[in-house]
Subunit: 273 residues, 2 copies
């Protein structure tokens, strides 16, 4: 998918919501646990309940991997289900991979060929070599970690170089020269930083985790981070997935997604004026 199509979907749905499929077998409702593939059944119900309010889904690969072979089967079914029923969705593998050369090529093949994801999250620590194999794919996206939403992001990401450039800023200013198909992860818990981010990458799409359970504000994120093409994909995982642990979980997830979408729609309209 290209960003023109993504922006078009955002406009059409009045939403820049990404639902994070952090599907944890220990957290899914009891009523669904007896199904043959409870992870896929849960995902399917969540997707059908929220697709009208979302432009993207982001399976968190760790949750599937941790289940071994069964987990990969659930992931495969989830990807195929979205691709078939909701072809307009931007599909992100939250994998945070970061390797080089032939290994990185393998990862690109896994996520862009074996699975037909539109984008994959990558760690920039090893530099250009990590990203290069992913950039060879047309209309596929590398989403680099820049400023993350966790407390210990401070350990290294704020480290200033001799020119006062912080590491997360350096990651963006260096990597934006690598190619067109790059987006960035910028955590919602540091919304005011989005203004600094926009000075470096005014036109890039940003994937913003951290609203909902992690406490970031959608209003602040949008105020500091939105550009004229929207330029934001805001993720919510737990606040939508686990809002209700009873048999009505899908309806509740739908209402939670709708709430976010309504807020987003109002913000988009405000920005358009």
């Amino acid at each position: 998918m290209n960003t023109g199509e993504l922006s078009e979907q955002i406009k059409k749905k009045g939403s820049y919501l990404c639902v994070g499929l952090d599907t944890d077998v220990n957290k899914i409702p009891h009523c669904i646990k007896s199904e043959a593939d409870p992870v896929f059944s849960f995902n399917k119900a969540i997707i059908d309940a929220t697709a009208i309010y979302s432009v993207a889904y982001k399976p968190n690969i760790a949750f599937y991997e941790s289940l071994g072979i069964e987990g990969w089967k659930s992931l495969e079914k989830t990807v195929l289900y979205i691709r078939k029923k909701y072809p307009e969705i931007f599909l992100i593998a939250d994998a945070k991979r970061g390797d080089i050369g032939n290994t990185s090529e393998m990862y690109a093949k896994t996520f862009f060929e074996t699975f037909d994801f539109d984008a994959v999250t990558l760690s920039p620590y090893m530099g250009f070599d990590t990203v290069a194999p992913f950039l060879k794919y047309k209309n596929k996206w590398s989403i680099l970690l820049a400023l993350t939403s966790n407390p210990s992001a401070n350990d290294f990401q704020y480290s200033e170089d001799k020119n006062g450039l912080r590491l997360f800023e350096k990651v963006m200013s260096v990597s934006k020269e690598w190619g067109e198909n790059i987006m960035y992860v910028v955590g919602a818990t540091r919304a005011e930083m989005l203004a600094d981010v926009r000075k470096i990458v005014p036109d890039s799409f940003l994937l913003v985790p951290g609203i909902g359970a992690q406490g970031g504000s959608l209003e602040d994120v949008s105020k500091y981070g939105m550009n004229k093409h929207c330029g934001l994909i805001v993720n919510s995982s737990r606040a939508i997935l686990y809002a209700d642990s009873t048999p009505t979980f899908a309806e509740t997830a739908s209402r939670e997604a709708e709430k976010v979408q309504k807020e987003m729609d109002a913000i988009i309209r405000l920005m358009d004026r």
Copy 2:
């Protein structure tokens, strides 16, 4: 495994060689491709041929993942085979994971419980939160990327802060306070840097990729990086795995591993004097 046991094995085998199981279905000998599980058959032959000369194996997780479910099955069989037949081996998952919170917990569970690895490679970009769940496991090891062997390691790892500390040095000086069970990746292609590394982490084990196909020198790595407990695990992948593409590949791999081991044994003896 604890480092005392690892050092004991190094002494016993006269080797600090790690064989990287970067098993690529496109590169394994033609004669083995008709087997039911060619990846596992290849690994098994390589392991049996090299275990006497090695203290560690390091499956490169990307290569298995890229094959989907079949790949995970091959990995599982490989891990179980080593655990059963060569219980003295230090088993490293080269996964370069780097996530936070519940995702990081999932990864720890995958590599330390679902699979019984001794260690896993991790990217430090997101800070302590990435490593914390792994440090909860007794006698299991987090191997943090510090200075990697690829050309674009320069992009960020050499970035100097206001005090002249380079990012790879900062990663070590900050993370060594997080817990005992941490090792570091330091590439062999920058052997002279190992002297700087040893100023910060004199006692830690270092996993050193980049000898063989990537061009690093074992002699230089050992000269600058070895401490009194050896403190080095030096990896070779392609130079051992793909030295021979005919039915004699295992014998050739054995000879290649033996060559490295003999050189290591001589270095250990020299250092012991």
